[in-house]
């Protein structure tokens, strides 16, 4: 694998005196798609929040692209997708306005948006399939569409790595499949992904490595195989092999088989 993108060594994090992570060692290399798995309260969200600098480390060391987190300034290389619940304002905002925020790491204060900014925003909205809703208020969208808006916001910054915190929580199947397809496109361009997942769902075929956390310790770190030997996700992972984003989810070889829309090749 390529250069280290995220390098965590001996990370200990406390939230209000309560220890959440205990000396976690964790690495993501360029081009990998890594999922963090584990039960609620196992510390997986806290780990990604520490990686993007939202919660301070009590002990240990975090490097992003070979640079210590403390001095890391190249935030445009990281696209963070928080859990949907953190994002809502009292004033309506359109999909395009929210996605445009994703360009801010690349924009100077007081400078108007450039052509490149607007084009990247359009591409990101197109990637998650919301081009027709770009000028609608996000409060009029379904939960899954709102989640895709947040993914587009992160993608609009044209990051090298996407960090997603439970992107599929409370999201309908259609949006999960749309997300799997968007993510495949992102990964195909050589980018890196770190995901917190409760269940693999349609994403299972994309994932190159799974890290399982339990009570703040890494208990398993290795390639995701089907069926997964241990961990709480084995049944979901096995069940997911028929979902979208999986090879052969529609006919390729058989010339006389009818496609999903009644179309024959």
């Amino acid at each position: 694998m390529g250069e280290p993108v995220i390098d965590v060594r001996g990370l200990t994090v406390e939230l209000g005196e309560r220890p959440v992570l205990h000396g976690v060692d964790f690495r993501v290399s360029a081009g990998e798609v890594v999922t963090l798995l584990g039960a609620n309260g196992s510390g997986k969200s806290t780990l990604v929040r520490a990686v993007v600098g939202l919660v301070p480390a009590v002990a240990g060391h975090i490097e992003l692209f070979g640079q210590p987190l403390r001095t890391f300034r190249d935030w445009a290389r990281i696209g963070y997708v928080p859990q949907r619940t953190t994002a809502s304002g009292g004033v309506p905002a359109t999909v395009r306005e929210v996605v445009s925020s994703g360009r801010l790491a690349r924009r100077m204060p007081f400078a108007p948006a450039r052509r490149a900014d607007r084009e990247a925003v359009d591409r990101a909205i197109d990637m998650v399939g919301l081009a027709d809703r770009a000028d609608d208020g996000i409060h009029t969208l379904s939960g899954g569409q709102q989640q895709r808006t947040l993914i587009a916001r992160a993608a609009a910054g044209e990051p090298d790595v996407l960090v997603l915190d439970e992107p599929n929580a409370g999201v309908d199947q259609r949006s999960q499949e749309a997300f799997a397809r968007s993510l495949r496109t992102f990964v195909a361009a050589g980018h890196t992904v770190l995901l917190v997942l409760h269940e693999m769902g349609p994403l299972a075929p994309l994932v190159s490595r799974g890290v399982v956390l339990d009570a703040g310790h890494v208990v398993r770190d290795g390639p995701v195989q089907k069926p997964v030997a241990t961990g709480p996700t084995s049944s979901e992972a096995a069940a997911a092999t028929t979902a979208a984003g999986v090879p052969n989810d529609h006919p390729h070889r058989s010339d006389d088989e009818t496609g999903p829309f009644g179309w024959t090749s």
Partner: protein
């Protein structure tokens, strides 16, 4: 009909009052849009109460009340913001304590200064006859700075109010921007003190935004419309109080609320129409299972220059942000 003669424009104090109302009417909703977006709509109210202590300090010491109000209001607003950001006490309790302390301190110090309740009233509810030439300079400079910041830093402030965590993960100086919003609110309170008054300034920050939200879908549109919905009642309210001899704060806020009452049914009808017209709006290239690439003349192969990706039993090619897979005579979106 006296209204048509515009004779009030001949009076210097009315000219000053109208200029102050114009600046207040723009600055208050500009800051107010960010406060409402952050769900801190009552922050302006809390700062207004604290600023009363600032006014009283001015009355007691003989310094210009507008300056002492600015200084004390900024101190109060920054305190509120720091307490909120650290989460040591919940934000509403912090605001409540500032309400009480500000009012009590203001009345106490005004009494010690020997000023009357009538003097205090001109600060609480505005007074069109009391805007001095010096006041106008201070109001003008501060209001222009507030309006320029709220427009120039619009994208940054929007991001901080919309999703603080994401803004931090973008590397934005979130604490700096948060304090800046608090300071802008404090300055606006001091600016608005002569027109709408300290007790009603928060209404001019919130009501035009609430009215605007009835009619708009996006943040920027809400912001722009709120400025005009703040400007019109401010000017109209000052003119009305010239004729009716009431405190301008009351007539400004009542006018703004009338605007809201008119916009409410209009907004409901508008939303219903949009709802009916909205299509599902999903892009089948992203959500569908088998989707053909539109009119694809280009032939993908190992040498075509598009990055190739193995996908199960076949190869996809990355083309303008879409993955293409050969399928018979055409290409599929994958």
């Amino acid at each position: 009909m006296d209204f048509l003669t515009l004779d009030f424009l001949d009076y210097p104090h009315m000219q000053r009052a109208l200029i102050a109302a114009l600046l207040t009417g723009l600055a208050a909703p500009a800051v107010g849009t960010y406060l409402v977006h952050r769900r801190l709509a009552l922050m302006g109210d809390g700062i207004g109460h604290v600023a009363l202590t600032g006014v009283a300090v001015g009355l007691l010491t003989g310094w210009a009340p507008v300056w002492t109000a600015v200084v004390v209001a900024i101190a109060g607003a920054v305190t509120i913001e720091l307490v909120r950001a650290h989460g040591k006490a919940s934000a509403d309790v912090a605001l409540a304590m500032l309400f009480y302390g500000g009012i009590a301190g203001g009345v106490l110090l005004t009494g010690l200064a020997g000023s009357t309740a009538a003097t205090l009233n001109t600060y609480l509810f505005g007074s069109i006859t009391t805007v001095s030439q010096d006041d106008l300079w201070v109001i003008g400079i501060l209001a222009v700075v507030v309006i320029a910041l709220s427009i120039g830093l619009g994208p940054q402030l929007f991001a901080v109010c919309q999703d603080e965590e994401f803004a931090r993960a973008c590397g934005l100086p979130v604490r700096l921007y948060s304090i800046m919003i608090a300071v802008m609110a404090a300055v606006t309170v001091a600016v608005a003190m002569r027109t709408v008054g300290l007790l009603l300034v928060s209404a001019l920050m919130v009501v035009p935004v609430a009215t605007s939200m009835q009619l708009t879908r996006g943040f920027r549109a809400t912001f722009v419309l709120a400025l005009s919905l703040g400007l019109v009642p401010s000017l109209a309210g000052v003119v009305f109080s010239y004729y009716a001899d009431v405190a301008p704060g009351a007539s400004i806020v009542v006018t703004a609320l009338v605007g809201f009452a008119l916009a409410w049914p209009l907004g409901t009808a508008l939303r219903r129409r949009r709802q009916a017209r909205r299509s599902n709006g999903e892009d089948p290239r992203v959500t569908g299972t088998h989707v053909t690439a539109e009119d694809h003349a280009h032939q993908h192969d190992e040498n075509c220059g598009h990055p190739a990706v193995e996908h199960g039993d076949h190869t996809d090619y990355l083309h303008d942000g879409h993955l293409h897979a050969a399928h018979g005579k055409h290409y599929d979106e994958h």
